[in-house]
Every structure is written in structure tokens, then in C-alpha cells.
């Protein structure tokens, strides 16, 4: 078997696993296919996601289900204003050993799980948020002189409520940038609501089964990284990123007028990684411009900072990105 054939098989296996994963999640979560794919993309991209949606849309349920089907450690942290960093990271406690000897021992916080749900992350103080985000970025926690490595795969899903702004601490831009995607959980449709009601108001209880092993997840993450990206696709992602900057050569008028700061290079990384995952979802061997376009919204919406004028006008970041994608041709002349 040639390497190409092997790679083809790997891709096919990936697709098969994703199919199984989707199917199992779909048994619990009604609809929200894009959100599920987005979450999976983040996970396979070895990164984290920020979920935004009004309460009761199944955000926590989604993360729980995901943890269930993946058979990974899962912890849920409900962020509150009085939540301290130690509450999530863990703390050093004095313990008495069997011989009566006392020693300082580090007790791991909820952050040390494969899948962490940071519920309503904007309710915690910046200090606590910062502690979480540091762990997300570094995949390790340093307490005292000891560094504690978080076991892979490590995937944080933070949620925030866009309506209740009172008593919240909106995440600063630098910290938002750490999230791979910002996924907006839409309100379910009428049919979806019927299905939700059917599933949640009857005696039937769905038990999800584990579909993937930790090793398989790591393999899949590795495969994602190996997916090649042609130059023109990468170029397109970069052009899209640069177009989010008001000073960008191809920035549309809307960006020039309403955007204060464009996305950071992490935005391009997110777009391309997401594109790779999408290519694999489709069984393709390379990412395409269409993949970049499909991931652009989730990858850039929290990275584009609107100007005061933009906010006053009620211009959403999604509209700006849509405009960029619409105006930017597939290849630069």
C-alpha cells in the first residue's frame, strides 16, 4: 500500500469516525449541526471554543454529550463573580501522611479535565478568567514552583450569555483571541423544538455511548495538522484576515468605516485549521477556499473589534465579515 493510499484510508477512517460521532451526538442534541461541527472542529484543531447563546439552548448539554461520546474527563465550572482562580486551578493543601508527616500537596481544580465547560465565563472576575485562559493557552498550570501539565486532549468550552450584561465582566479582546471559534447557538426551529420537547418531556432517557478513544482523538488531531493547504487557499485566508483591518488593501468600505482593529494572525490560523477539519469532514485531502469561507465567520467574529461608530450604528461583526467574503474574489488578479 502506498503512502497515498494509506493517507486515503486515514481520511476515510476520519470521516467514518466523525460520522459516528455526529450520529451519537445527534441522538441527544436536536439540530445545531453547525454548532456541533464547530465544536468538533475546535476540539480536532486542538483548541477551544466560546459558545454564545441565550440560556436554555442546550449549550451545557452539548458539552456533556460530547464528553460522554468521547469518553473523556469532563468538568463543569459555573463562573460566578466570587469564583477565585484557585477554585478552578486547584490549591496546595497541607496533608498529613501515614507516618504523620505533613506535606504540601497540590489538589487539582476542575480545570484539569480533558473537556472543561466554563459556564458563563463572563460572570467571573478578570483575574479568574485570566487564570482559565492561561491554562487554555499553555495546557499547563504553574502553582508555586511546580508546573502541572494538563492531559491531552484538552478542550475548553466557554459559554456566555449575550443578554445579561449586568454584573458581568466581558472578556478582554486579548483573551477572546485565545478562543479558536466563537460559536453562536441559534434558537431552535419549530421542528427542532418539537423534537426537543419530545425527548425531554417523556420518560425516555438517552444514554450516549462512547464512540472514540482518547488515542483516536489524538490521532485525528494529528491528521488534521497533516492536511495540506495549497498556496492559493492559504493566500485567500490571509487576504480575508487582512481585509478585516481598516488599513487593508482589499478592505471593503464597511470595514474601513466601522472596524477599529482587525483580527490577529490567530484568526488566519483558526480559519485554516478549521478549513482542514472541514476538508476531512468531507473526505477531501486538502483544504479549499470554500472551507476557509465556511470557517471565517466563527474564526473571526470575536477577533474583529468594531469602532465606536460601528457599535453606535449597530453593525455586527458578522455583517462585516460577510461583506469581506462577498467582496473578496477567490483569486487576486
Amino acid at each position: 500500500m502506498t503512502e497515498a493510499e494509506q493517507a486515503r484510508e486515514e481520511v476515510a477512517e476520519f470521516q467514518k469516525r466523525i460520522g459516528a460521532l455526529r450520529e451519537e451526538i445527534g441522538r441527544v442534541i436536536v439540530g445545531n449541526r453547525d454548532v456541533i461541527d464547530g465544536v468538533l472542529s475546535c476540539m480536532l484543531g486542538s483548541s477551544h471554543a466560546l459558545l454564545e447563546g441565550v440560556p436554555g439552548l442546550g449549550k451545557t448539554m452539548l458539552v456533556r454529550t460530547l464528553a460522554g461520546v468521547l469518553g473523556l474527563d469532563f468538568s463543569r465550572i459555573q463562573f460566578t463573580p466570587d469564583l477565585m482562580p484557585a477554585d478552578i486551578i486547584g490549591t496546595v493543601v497541607l496533608e498529613e501522611g501515614a507516618g504523620g508527616a505533613r506535606q504540601l500537596e497540590f489538589r487539582r481544580g476542575p480545570i484539569f479535565a480533558n473537556i472543561v465547560l466554563a459556564d458563563e465565563v463572563n460572570r467571573a472576575t478578570p483575574k479568574t478568567q485570566s487564570a482559565l485562559l492561561e491554562a487554555m493557552q499553555e495546557h499547563r498550570v504553574t502553582v508555586g514552583r511546580t508546573t502541572h501539565v494538563i492531559e491531552e486532549p484538552y478542550f475548553v468550552l466557554a459559554t456566555q450569555n449575550p443578554l445579561e450584561m449586568e454584573g458581568t465582566y466581558p472578556l478582554p479582546e486579548a483573551q477572546l483571541d485565545r478562543f479558536f471559534y466563537k460559536l453562536q447557538v441559534p434558537f431552535p426551529s419549530r421542528d427542532e423544538l418539537h423534537a426537543i420537547i419530545d425527548r425531554t418531556t417523556t420518560a425516555q432517557h438517552v444514554e450516549v455511548k462512547r464512540v472514540l478513544t482518547r488515542q483516536q482523538i489524538l490521532e485525528m488531531q494529528a491528521l488534521v495538522r497533516r492536511v495540506p493547504v495549497a498556496r492559493h487557499v492559504q493566500d485567500y485566508a490571509i487576504r480575508v484576515l487582512m481585509a478585516t483591518h481598516p488599513s487593508g488593501e482589499e478592505a471593503p468600505e464597511l470595514v474601513k468605516r466601522f472596524v477599529r482593529t482587525g483580527a490577529s494572525p490567530r484568526g488566519a490560523q483558526a480559519m485554516l485549521l478549521g478549513a482542514k477539519v472541514r476538508a476531512l469532514f468531507d473526505g477531501r485531502f486538502a483544504a479549499s477556499i470554500d472551507d476557509v469561507k465556511a470557517t471565517a465567520l466563527a474564526a473571526l467574529r470575536h477577533r474583529v473589534l468594531l469602532s465606536f461608530e460601528g457599535e453606535a450604528e449597530g453593525v455586527a461583526a458578522d455583517r462585516v465579515i460577510d461583506e469581506i467574503l462577498k467582496k473578496l474574489p477567490g483569486s487576486k488578479e
Binding site: 497515498a4 493510499e5 493517507a7 495540506p228 492559493h232 485531502f285 483544504a287 488578479e333
Partner: protein, 631 residues
């Protein structure tokens, strides 16, 4: 399919799609920008047609059209030469077929060296190659009709329609040349008709008759108003020129010929008289002298001596050859001069061009040229002379030959020579008539010129005068002073009394004072046109009253009517009376004709004798023309 072949296929398809994309872009740019120069052209054409711009303004507007044209060219050039992404074609193919960049990625990864390719890259290449067969660049990049094509077509159609529209420029055309016929009074027409008739009657020379006919035709054309002023003068000029040229040349040639003859004949005592007459151009005398000589030779008694005869023979022989020799001499001189001229020209050519030609040589050449021209004219005259005198020369030569052999025969030859001189004399007469015609033509031209100055008023006056001159009273209206006869209304004027009215009788006119308090019983006299109706009112009558003598008395006596008629002696009234009468009745009547002839003869004599300016001459002649007797 081998990977390389597949890649080649992909590349070809991508290139084709790229070319199509470029072509489409260029076409699109053309149709986008073409309305600019086209619209400008439509605008300018509209301005040109609507405002009827002059050439300078048009040029300015068209030159300004360079700007939209340059914009168009720059735009199209940019579309044509702009560097495009090398993946343009493959991306277009991917987008059309929905291949999610599988073709573009395959092409992109195929550029990576094989060693550096990852398994996924290789798989992507193979994946792309597998699609090669299904690619359709034509459909993927259709070169459709651009949206702006309608505008372009509309503008083109508009431009064509505008260019076809006729611009009506209202130019003021010069009025067509109006034909204004040359008008000559009827009286003058009659005058020149009479002249032509007279010349025709006098002449029997065919050439002269042709000239007279041409003159007559000219007069008739003027009378019929068929010629305008320009044509009349042209025709007169042509006729005059023809007459003059032939006349002068022939006369000079004949004179030369006769002088040549005279010179030779003078050498013999027998022909001296004839020579002298010929020299003085007394052709009748020359004819007579030759005839006398012929008679002398015929007579046996008193015949000239042999020596005299020999001298005469020599003279006749030389005389017969004089014209020929003269022509030969001229020809010889001409040939010599031509040779000289040729050699001079050769010399002039051989001289160094830098040095220039000597002025003497140039002068000599010019002199020779003039002399050659003079000789040509002389030769022409000599030839004419030879032609005119050929018969006489022949006769004289024959006479010379016969003289020593048979005097009688020689005399006959001389008599024939005399006859030829007679012919020449007649020709001279014909020339005189031509001269006369020429003179009339000049008079006519002067008359026309003067009439042209006078305008219509003068013409009207002339016509009125002509009527009066012919004794017409102006359409029979019996105007005052024009009628004659007894019983006029006002008796202060004197009118001639005409006695005798019977058939075969002679009327005698006696001027008598006429009472102004007459009864106005004028009766038509019937001797003037238009006077047949008795006039009424204030006008004079112009005829006799049948009751002039009053009512016949009924005397109881036997009476016999006697008509007394005077004999026509031609004496008539005194000149002053005739002239006075002519002023009243017109220039008619025998008496007037006689008086006129007397006066005119005196006037002509004075004109020929005295030095009178030509302008005055015309007026005098014109005066006599106007008062000439009418029929």
C-alpha cells in the same frame, strides 16, 4: 491515467479557462469603456449636425475626443496586460464544477518536488487528476455577452444613424445669370439691314459675300433678341478679326508681288508704262498699258526692234520669276539663319556652365530669333503673293517664251495677263467692300457701346425718334404737332398745304400758316400709317376736309372741272423748307433724300479731310445715320 498526464490535462484545461477568463475580462472592459468614446462621438456628431459647426470648430471637438479614446485604450490595455493569478483558470474550473479547489490544489501540490510531497498531497494530486476528464473550461468560463453590450450597440446604431442624417445647409446660391438681350432700336436695325443689303448687292466675291451674310445674320439675331451684349460683341469681334486678317495679308502680299513685277518690267522701255502703273497700284492703267503693248506687238507696222523685244523678253521673264525668286531668297536666308542659330546654341551648350554665357552670344541668339520670326512672316507673305500672282506670272513667262518666236502669240499672252490684272483690280474692289463692312462693324460696335452707356431711357428716346423719323405719329393717336392738313384746331403753327389729290397727280406742298382757331376738322389723309381715324378733341387732324371749298354753288352755268397738276421737276422747295418739313413729318420724301445726300457728302468729305477726333467722328456719323432718309 498517469499522474503526469493527468496533471498536464489539468494544466491545459486550467490554462484554457484562464485565457477565456482574460478574454472575458477584456471584452467586458471593452463594452464597459466603449460607450465613453462612442458617446462622445455621438455628442460631437450631434453638435456638428445640429449646430452646423464650421471645419475649425469640428476639428477642435474631434481632437478633444482623444481623451475618451485614450481612457478607453488605457482601460482595455490594462485588462489585457494586467498580471493575473496563475490559478485563475483552475479556480474558475473548481468553482464551476463545485470541486472545492481539488483541481487547483492538485496543480499547486504538483509543483512541490516529489520528495517533499506528503502522502496527503499525493492523494490530493491523484484526486484532482481523477477529475481531469470532467473539466469543461468552455462552460466553466463562458464568454458571455456583456451587460453593457446593449448600450454599445445602441450607441453604434445611433452613431450610424446620425452620420447618415443629411445636414441641410442653406447656402445662398448666386442668382442664375439672367439673359438680357442686346437691344437695338428698330431704326438702327433697319439701318444695318440696309447696309447689309447694299453690300450684298454690290459684291460678287464669294468671301466677301460670306462676310456680309455673317453680318446680316448678326443683325437679324440682334433684331430677334437672340443675343446678349457679350455675345454680340464676341460675334462682331470674330467677324472683324477674320475680315481684317485676310484683308491685310492679301493686300500686302499683292502689293509686294506687284512691286516685284514693276521693278522688273521697268527695265524694258516697252513695259515701262505698265510697270509704272503697277508700282503705283493703278491696276486699271496697268491693264490698259499691257493691252496697248499687246496691240503694239500684234501690229506689223511700227513693231519694236529686236533689241527692244529682247529686252522686253528678259524683263517679262525676270518679272515672271520675281515672286518665285523672292520666295527662294527668303527661304535661303532663313536656312542660313537657322544654321547660324543652331551653331550658336551648340556653342552656348558647350560653354562651361560655371563660367556662364557671354552677353554677346545671348544678344546674338535673341536677334536671330527675332529675325527668324520676321523671315517667317515674310515667307508667308511671299507665298501668298506667289499664289495671288501665279496666273499673271504664268502668262508673263509664256509671253516671254513666245515673244521671239511668235509675236502674235506673245501679244495674246500679254492680253491674258492684262485680264488677270483686271481680276486683281476686281479683287481690290471686293476688298474695298470688305473694308466698308469692317467700317460698318466698327460703327455698329461704337453704337452699341454708346447705347450701353445711355441705358433704357436712351433706347426709348431712340425708338420714339425712329418712329418720328419714319413719319409715324405714334400708333395713330394723332399727337399734337404730328398731323398735317387743313383745319387744325390751333392755327398758330404753319403746316404745309398739299395741293392736288387725284390719281396720277403730283402733290405740291406749300407751307402755309395755319390758324390756331381752326375747327379741328382734320380728316384722315390716308398717307400715314395709323392716321385713318379722325381725331377728336384737342388733337389736330391730319387729312383734308371734303368741304374745304365750301358748299358747291349751284350756278346755272355750264362748268367743267379741271384738275391742274404740276410737272415733277425735282427742284421742289428750298433745302431749308425741306428740312423744316422733315422735322415735322419725318425723314421721308425724295426732296429730303436729296438734301440729306448733299449734306452727308459734305460732311463725309470734311471728315476724311480734316483731323477730327474719332469720338467726334462717331457723333457726326451717328447724327447722319439718325437723320438719314427713310423709305
Amino acid at each position: 491515467m498517469a499522474s503526469s498526464d493527468g496533471i498536464a490535462l489539468l494544466r491545459r484545461a486550467a490554462r484554457r479557462a484562464g485565457r477565456r477568463a482574460r478574454a472575458s475580462a477584456v471584452l467586458s472592459r471593452i463594452t464597459l469603456l466603449l460607450p465613453l468614446p462612442l458617446g462622445y462621438a455621438v455628442l460631437v456628431l450631434t453638435l456638428v449636425k445640429a449646430l452646423r459647426l464650421d471645419t475649425a470648430s469640428q476639428l477642435g471637438w474631434w481632437l478633444l475626443g482623444v481623451v475618451p479614446l485614450l481612457v478607453f485604450l488605457a482601460g482595455v490595455s490594462r485588462a489585457l496586460f494586467t498580471r493575473r493569478s496563475s490559478w485563475l483558470g483552475s479556480i474558475a474550473l473548481d468553482q464551476f464544477h463545485g470541486f472545492h479547489d481539488r483541481v487547483t490544489s492538485a496543480l499547486s501540490f504538483s509543483q512541490v518536488p516529489v520528495a517533499e510531497r506528503t502522502p496527503l498531497m499525493q492523494a490530493a494530486i491523484e484526486d484532482g487528476v481523477a477529475l481531469a476528464g470532467s473539466l469543461d473550461p468552455r462552460r466553466a468560463v463562458p464568454i458571455g455577452l456583456p451587460r453593457e453590450l446593449g448600450v454599445v450597440l445602441a450607441l453604434l446604431l445611433g452613431l450610424c444613424a446620425l452620420s447618415l442624417l443629411e445636414v441641410r445647409s442653406f447656402r445662398q446660391l448666386p442668382p442664375p445669370p439672367s439673359f438680357e438681350p442686346m437691344v437695338m432700336s428698330a431704326d438702327d436695325i433697319d439701318l444695318f439691314r440696309d447696309v447689309a443689303k447694299e453690300l450684298q448687292a454690290k459684291n460678287d466675291d464669294p468671301n466677301a459675300l460670306i462676310a456680309v451674310r455673317r453680318f446680316n445674320q448678326l443683325v437679324e439675331d440682334i433684331a430677334e433678341h437672340r443675343l446678349d451684349r457679350h455675345e454680340v460683341f464676341q460675334r462682331m469681334g470674330e467677324l472683324e478679326r477674320d475680315l481684317k486678317d485676310n484683308l491685310e495679308l492679301d493686300r500686302d502680299a499683292r502689293d509686294d508681288g506687284l512691286k516685284g513685277l514693276a521693278r522688273e518690267l521697268e527695265k524694258s522701255g516697252l513695259s515701262k508704262a505698265a510697270a509704272s502703273a503697277l508700282d503705283e497700284k493703278r491696276l486699271a492703267d496697268a491693264e490698259k498699258a499691257l493691252r496697248e503693248l499687246a496691240e503694239k506687238l500684234k501690229k506689223k507696222e511700227g513693231r519694236p526692234s529686236v533689241a527692244e523685244l529682247d529686252k522686253l523678253r528678259q524683263a517679262l521673264e525676270k518679272a515672271s520669276r520675281s515672286n518665285e525668286e523672292r520666295a527662294k531668297n527668303i527661304d535661303q536666308r532663313r536656312r542660313e539663319l537657322e544654321e547660324e542659330q543652331k551653331s550658336l546654341l551648340k556653342k552656348k551648350k558647350s560653354d562651361q556652365p560655371d563660367a556662364g554665357t557671354s552677353p554677346d552670344l545671348d544678344k546674338k541668339l535673341a536677334d536671330n530669333e527675332r529675325r527668324l520670326e520676321h523671315l517667317d512672316r515674310e515667307k508667308n507673305r511671299a507665298e501668298r503673293s506667289q499664289k495671288q500672282m501665279s496666273e499673271l506670272d504664268k502668262q508673263l513667262a509664256q509671253a516671254a517664251r513666245d515673244l521671239m518666236r511668235d509675236a502674235g502669240q506673245s501679244a495674246q499672252d500679254l492680253a491674258q495677263g492684262a485680264q488677270d490684272i483686271n481680276r486683281m483690280a476686281k479683287q481690290e474692289t471686293s476688298e474695298e467692300q470688305k473694308q466698308e463692312l469692317l467700317k460698318k462693324l466698327q460703327e455698329m460696335r461704337e453704337l452699341m457701346r454708346q447705347q450701353g452707356k445711355g441705358g433704357k431711357d436712351q433706347m426709348q428716346r431712340l425708338q420714339k425718334f425712329g418712329q418720328r423719323a419714319r413719319g409715324e405719329s405714334g400708333a395713330g393717336q394723332g399727337q399734337p404737332g404730328e398731323g398735317q392738313g387743313e383745319g387744325q384746331k390751333d392755327g398758330k403753327k404753319e403746316g404745309p398745304l398739299r395741293l392736288g389729290g387725284g390719281p396720277g397727280s403730283v402733290s405740291i406742298e406749300i407751307p402755309v400758316p395755319v390758324s390756331q382757331s381752326g375747327d379741328g376738322q382734320g380728316q384722315p389723309s390716308g398717307d400715314k400709317p395709323g392716321s385713318s381715324e379722325p381725331s377728336a378733341g384737342a388733337n389736330y387732324g391730319n387729312g383734308h376736309d371734303s368741304n374745304l371749298a365750301g358748299k358747291a354753288t349751284e350756278l346755272k352755268v355750264k362748268t367743267t372741272d379741271v384738275t391742274a397738276a404740276g410737272a415733277d421737276t425735282g427742284q421742289g422747295a428750298a433745302s431749308s423748307q425741306v428740312i423744316f418739313g422733315a422735322a415735322e413729318r419725318g425723314f421721308v420724301g425724295r426732296g429730303y433724300k436729296q438734301v440729306f445726300t448733299d449734306y452727308q457728302t459734305v460732311a463725309e468729305r470734311a471728315l476724311s479731310r480734316d483731323e477730327i477726333p474719332s469720338g467726334y467722328r462717331f457723333y457726326v456719323r451717328r447724327y447722319f445715320q439718325l437723320i438719314r432718309p427713310r423709305e
